[in-house]
């Protein structure tokens, strides 16, 4: 009788594994077509709006031009949403490929990549000497990109932005802190910061899809680490994450 139960269980498990595999495949092909088929029409809207502004601006009133620009901005934003959601789902599914990641060069590269975002602004960078960690370079790159992009964005109202990246070594891993002197946030809402589509600011103040920090959290948790934040309204914010030396299996 016991053997019967065991065999029955094994069969159930096999069925479940198959079901899970099928669901995963379906999700995979779903996000594949979202990425192709949803991006294309958004790109067309932006493209034809650009052409309208470029070729027909003489026929457009000032109000008309503004409407076209709104159309374009919205389509571009929708495209960003699609990209961010896809990357969020990818960071949840793709397997980690750990390697030695030199955080110094990664931070330098990320800042270079973000240069357009702070062009014409005064930004003082304080980058400490950072360790090399064992992590998936692509994943960590995205997390760092999101954190630094946020620091740049939320200091845009400061005459001189100050952004620092520090590291602390612990016995079982490394902690990194990204701090800024920007608008900060109310600690009452700190539990919402890392949720998907959670925004603490109005769209006119700071643009964003509300996916960036959720993705940071997901990336760090995939590495078996954790994220947290400290801030005060108008006094800046510090985002911290811990990456363990030993990554979880799988």
């Amino acid at each position: 009788a016991l053997l019967g139960i065991v065999l029955g269980r094994a069969e159930q498990m096999a069925d479940m594994a198959e079901e899970l595999g099928r669901a995963n495949k379906e999700l995979e092909s779903f996000s594949y077509s979202v990425s192709h088929d949803l991006r294309a029409p958004l790109r067309h809207i932006v493209g034809f709006s650009d052409l309208l502004l470029e070729m027909e601006s003489a026929q457009l009133s000032e109000r008309g031009s503004r409407f076209v620009r709104n159309i374009k901005d919205s389509a571009r934003f929708a495209g960003k949403l699609v990209d961010d959601l896809l990357s969020f789902s990818q960071m949840g599914r793709a397997s980690l490929r750990p390697a030695a990641v030199d955080m110094n060069s990664l931070v330098a590269l990320t800042i270079e990549k973000l240069e357009d975002e702070f062009k014409g602004r005064q930004v003082k960078w304080h980058i400490a000497d950072l360790p090399t960690i064992n992590a998936d370079p692509m994943f960590i790159n995205l997390a760092l990109h999101n954190l630094l992009a946020n620091a740049i964005k939320y200091t845009s109202t400061r005459e001189i932005a100050e952004i620092s990246v520090l590291a602390e070594q612990e016995h079982d891993g490394n902690v990194f802190h990204v701090s800024d002197n920007g608008v900060g946030f109310n600690m009452e809402y700190v539990h919402k910061l890392f949720g998907v589509f959670q925004r603490l600011h109005r769209m006119e103040e700071f643009q964003g899809t509300g996916i960036g920090l959720a993705n940071v959290k997901r990336i760090i948790e995939r590495h078996g680490g954790r994220v947290w934040a400290n801030g005060e309204i108008n006094k800046g914010a510090t985002f911290s994450f811990f990456v363990p030396n030993t990554l979880p299996e799988g």
């Binding site: 990425s35 192709h36 493209g47 034809f48 650009d50 052409l51």
Partner: protein, 152 residues
């Protein structure tokens, strides 16, 4: 004789945007448009409607990935399996950067993989760079004719 650029694109909006971009880049090459993978293969193999066209591979093929009937990867595979088309430059021009598409395209021997930029100005620049690179700057495989731009 200037070799044409073969544009394989099924979506009418993309087709119009790409043609405007090509026009803006002022390339002298003729642009041949086909609307699906099967028609692209007819052109490349001089079959069907294209049996009368002059012999020779295009300067470059701008190939969309998702196409009706025969998709971009199948067109690429066919070209790479055909001796006369083996070394013809093929550029994937697509909406998205899905890793599986990139991997498969490069495995099949694509020459470049370009994700269409969202901003039209950038799109024009990308198309114009591609055209200039493949139709003008690039040294084509031996046996094909290279286009020399007229000296001003």
């Amino acid at each position: 004789m200037l070799k044409p650029i073969l544009l394989v694109e099924d979506n009418p909006n993309d087709l119009e945007l790409t043609l405007i971009a090509l026009e803006k880049s002022r390339l002298a090459n003729e642009v041949v448009v086909v609307r699906d993978g099967a028609e692209a293969l007819d052109y490349l193999h001089r079959r069907g409607n294209y049996s009368e066209r002059p012999i020779g591979a295009p300067a470059v093929v701008l190939l969309d990935l998702k196409l009706p009937k025969v998709d971009g990867l199948e067109v690429l595979r066919d070209a790479r399996d055909t001796p006369s088309l083996k070394s013809m430059p093929v550029v994937m021009l697509t909406s998205s950067r899905e890793e599986q598409d990139l991997v498969r395209s490069y495995e099949l021997g694509v020459n470049a993989y370009v994700v269409k930029p969202v901003e039209f100005q950038e799109f024009v620049r990308a198309i114009s760079d591609l055209g200039i690179f493949w139709a003008v700057l690039n040294e084509p495989p031996p046996g094909s004719v290279r286009y020399l731009p007229p000296k001003v």
